[in-house]
């Protein structure tokens, strides 16, 4: 049985999904390589989190996107069950407020037919209001697509990676690929800041940086990525305006529309904007006054009542990795043999991720002529962290009985216990995270995601990181920087004094 070594560059939703699919095979050894300290910190971290039905993809111009979007929507239903990922399936309403918008919206009924997206139809005033009472009464109607869903994208990446590692994938964090080595027109591995990693197949799933990786290999040299920023407003979970369905405006030539959604964690979220940035602005996830004002105005068109602006608990932005022609570049190359591009992963990349992973496998099979052997024991399941939140007091009491750390609440806003934080640290270590960050714990436990934004709990979480990793409190990494810069007593005594002590 021939063994294949596969290196995946990038642990975003797409790299992770590919790793999971490849982990089903006995004779593939997968290395998942990520430059950040943790998985999912790229495009997959900040997006609208919608699992699109597939009726918005033009089947003529973007057939691959259309097909994989619809397939991805179906696959996610299974994946979220197997992997215990927070998700819901409320359906979506593309709300129109004028005759022109209604005309523009009708096109999607046609797309739905061709793409075989079930249940898509136009609903008018009364039915619209029955489906969604929070909608603006001036709305004329909407295109209703019942198969739309919402997911927690960051938790999805984490869950998929945990499952892939459980099935034998090796994750390398804080490992940046800067070269793909080719010899005799065959890929032989990747050069990283931590040295050379051998591989027979290299899969480029580097998100915003996928054009750089593709370019060093020298394939499809016309291809480049342009970042397109999307900003968001997130509201406190106590805000009582919470649409049940996913709502959005009708896409125009410039934008895909602004969404008004209730996230799987119960927060009202409004966004995104769509702003094209210079090619090199790949870390420009800043928010702008203009962007947030625009969102506020657009949301006013969709909602009957807007919540008070003072209830915004966070604003943030993500960058879409836009390819030059709107097409995903998903391709296995025979020259050099062993290279695979999964680049230009713009929306609906999150939706399509599981389908993209299967498609990549098919491409590899046909171009590389792989002889793959399925594992006898592949575990499709992964369980989420057991949480105090949203449990009855009787259930909480039983949890505390099993582990007293559940009885110690660190984060008031989201009601997160010490046990959950400790479990998150354990899981991060288990997948191979080297630097345990406070942000990594936030995404796994929600500690710090509530209205106080961590001002009550950050130090408590940092103290636990310090305790369980041996890193001094001041040096615990929050996101990318350390929590403090020094020790108060040390500053009083001077550095020399500490040296002597």
């Amino acid at each position: 049985m021939h063994r294949y070594r596969v290196a995946i560059v990038g642990a975003g939703i797409i790299g992770a999904s590919i790793a999971r699919i490849l982990s089903m095979y006995e004779n593939i050894d997968v290395s998942l390589i990520e430059k950040e300290p943790d998985v999912g910190w790229g495009v997959s971290k900040a997006n609208t989190a919608v699992i699109h039905p597939g009726h918005e993809e033009d089947p003529k111009s973007y057939p691959l996107r259309a097909r994989l979007c619809k397939e991805g929507n179906e696959l996610w239903r299974e994946w979220v069950r197997e992997l215990d990922i927070p998700a819901k399936w409320p359906g979506e309403l593309m709300v129109f407020t004028s005759d022109e918008e209604e005309k523009a919206a009708e096109k999607y009924i046609e797309f739905a037919k061709v793409n075989k997206v079930p249940g898509v139809r136009v609903v008018y005033r009364e039915e619209l209001r029955a489906l969604e009472p929070t909608v603006n009464p001036d709305a004329l109607g909407a295109v209703y697509a019942p198969t739309a869903g919402m997911i927690s994208p960051m938790e999805a990446v984490i869950a998929i990676v945990e499952n892939a590692v459980e099935n034998g994938v090796k994750l390398f964090t804080e490992t940046e690929v800067f070269n793909v080595r080719v010899s005799a027109n065959r890929v032989i591995g990747v050069d990283t800041n931590r040295g050379f990693i051998e591989a027979d197949v290299v899969i480029n799933a580097a998100g915003l940086y996928a054009d750089k990786i593709s370019n060093v290999v020298g394939v499809d040299t016309w291809f480049f990525i342009k970042p397109r920023r999307g900003e968001y407003l997130l509201f406190d979970e106590d805000v009582d305006i919470k649409p049940t369905r996913i709502l959005h405006t009708v896409p125009t030539l410039v934008t895909k529309g602004v969404y008004v959604v209730t996230t799987v964690h119960g927060n009202l979220m409004i966004g995104p904007t769509a702003e094209d940035l210079p090619v090199d602005a790949r870390e420009a996830t800043l928010t702008t006054r203009e962007g947030l004002e625009y969102l506020w105005r657009e949301a006013g068109k969709i909602l009957k009542v807007l919540p008070p602006r003072s209830r915004v608990i966070r604003t943030f932005a993500g960058l879409r990795p836009e390819p030059p022609n709107g097409q995903w570049l998903i391709k296995a190359y025979d020259s050099p043999w062993g290279f695979v591009n999964v680049a230009g992963t713009r929306s609906p990349g999150l939706t399509a991720a599981p389908a993209i992973a299967l498609h990549v496998l098919e491409q590899m099979r046909s171009v590389f002529d792989l002889r793959l052997v399925k594992k006898e024991k592949w575990n499709p399941f992964r369980k989420d962290i057991v949480r105090v939140r949203n449990r009855s007091i009787e259930e909480i009491d039983r949890l505390v009985e099993t582990n007293p750390d559940y009885g110690e609440i660190l984060c008031y806003c989201r009601m997160v216990s010490k046990a959950e934080v400790v479990e998150a640290i354990k899981r991060m270590k288990a997948i191979g995270v080297k630097t345990i960050t406070v942000d990594g714990i936030k995404f796994r436990t929600y500690a710090g995601m509530g209205k106080c934004q961590g001002s009550f709990c950050r130090w408590r979480v940092a103290l636990l990181v310090s305790k369980y990793t041996g890193v001094p409190l001041e040096s615990v990494v929050v996101k990318r920087g350390s929590y403090g810069v020094g020790d108060v007593k040390l500053l009083l005594r001077g550095r020399a004094a500490k040296g002597q002590g």
Partner: protein
Amino acid sequence: MSNLIEERYDVVVIGGGPAGIAAAIRATELGLKTILLENRDVLGGIPLQCVHPGFGLHYFKEDLTGTQFIHRFFERMERIGVEYITSAHVHSIEYRDYMEKVVNTITRKGVLRLYSKTIIYTVGARERTLFEIGVVGDRPDGIYTAGEAQTMMDIYGVLPGKDVVIIGSGDVGLIMARRFALEGARVKAVIEIMPYPGGLMRNVVQCLRDFNIPLLLSHAVISIAGKKRVEKVTVVKVDEGFRPIPGTEFEIACDTVVIAAGLRPNIDLLERLSIAIDPATGGPMVNELLETSIPGIFVAGNALVINDLADYVVEQGEKAAEGAKIFIENSGIPAEEWKPVKRGRNIRLAIPHYISGERSVTILARVAKPEQRVFVEVPEVGYKTFHMAVRPAEMIRLDLSKDALSKAEKSVTIEVKPIAYRA
């Protein structure tokens, strides 16, 4: 059915800061079966981490640090034998009926169901965050609320940063500026959106002038930039409507931003009971014994209204305990009629919201804008005192006797009038 630990009390006090401790001491002294619950592993609340003086002048007639101040109460607690639990998080409050509430509390030993006739709610305040004050830009590390920075420094001995910009010139911002300066950090500026400082004059002098820290009034931080850590902030001048004046932007290089942009009463658990809230204070509406709109639930300290002084917070705790005693003895707070306390000219907020006229009352009020040489008046009862100056940063206290209040018929109005004012 379930084996939750159940106990019965007269008073359950939620939150072990100065308000809660004072309430628990007083209630115990009054012979009520009382328990105090605190989420952290220590009692003391905010003062525990305040190593600066300025506490106790009013209550003990002595200038103490926050730590000393709170330790005096610890000693009293011990003497009197107040029952308390730390590392106890109140999960929810259930209102069963007039004389029975349940406080569900998560502890390491399991969930406690505490049945109580009354509740005194003293969980303090929450700090406003960067996002609430509308700052845009990057979201790097190095951004702290004042309370978080203070906890890091004075409980855990960690210096948050070296080049600091502070947003907000209330007492909290001013005191933190000095705290950083004392630690050898460079405080680049304190930025205040209002045209006057938000804190006490003595703090402007002792915390900023003595340390040569610039105070920029009518200025706002509009954005933050930085990759890993904060690298700089953009500051802009604002007009009277707090709108940025185009062309006045400039940058300040720094590695740390401390947000001291105000506190909000933390009323999450009460909001779920649909309690009446005063938009002016952000806290519950209360009568003169600090009872909320839900019978037998009292509130004190920063959960009621943001106080300048821990001394006032202690008084409120004690008042609430006396209220609990009266409530239990009379199955409710006896009053012929509740008369509203109205806000007149230049009064932004006033506590309490209702009075009976049957008891003496201390009213706490804040003005909307600073004024010099004024009378603070309650026309209905003939109350009038002269003040050289009133400022939003300093609460005004009005001690109104039972006799004076008996003159009020329908309501009382608090107002501020300049000496030469003609209505």
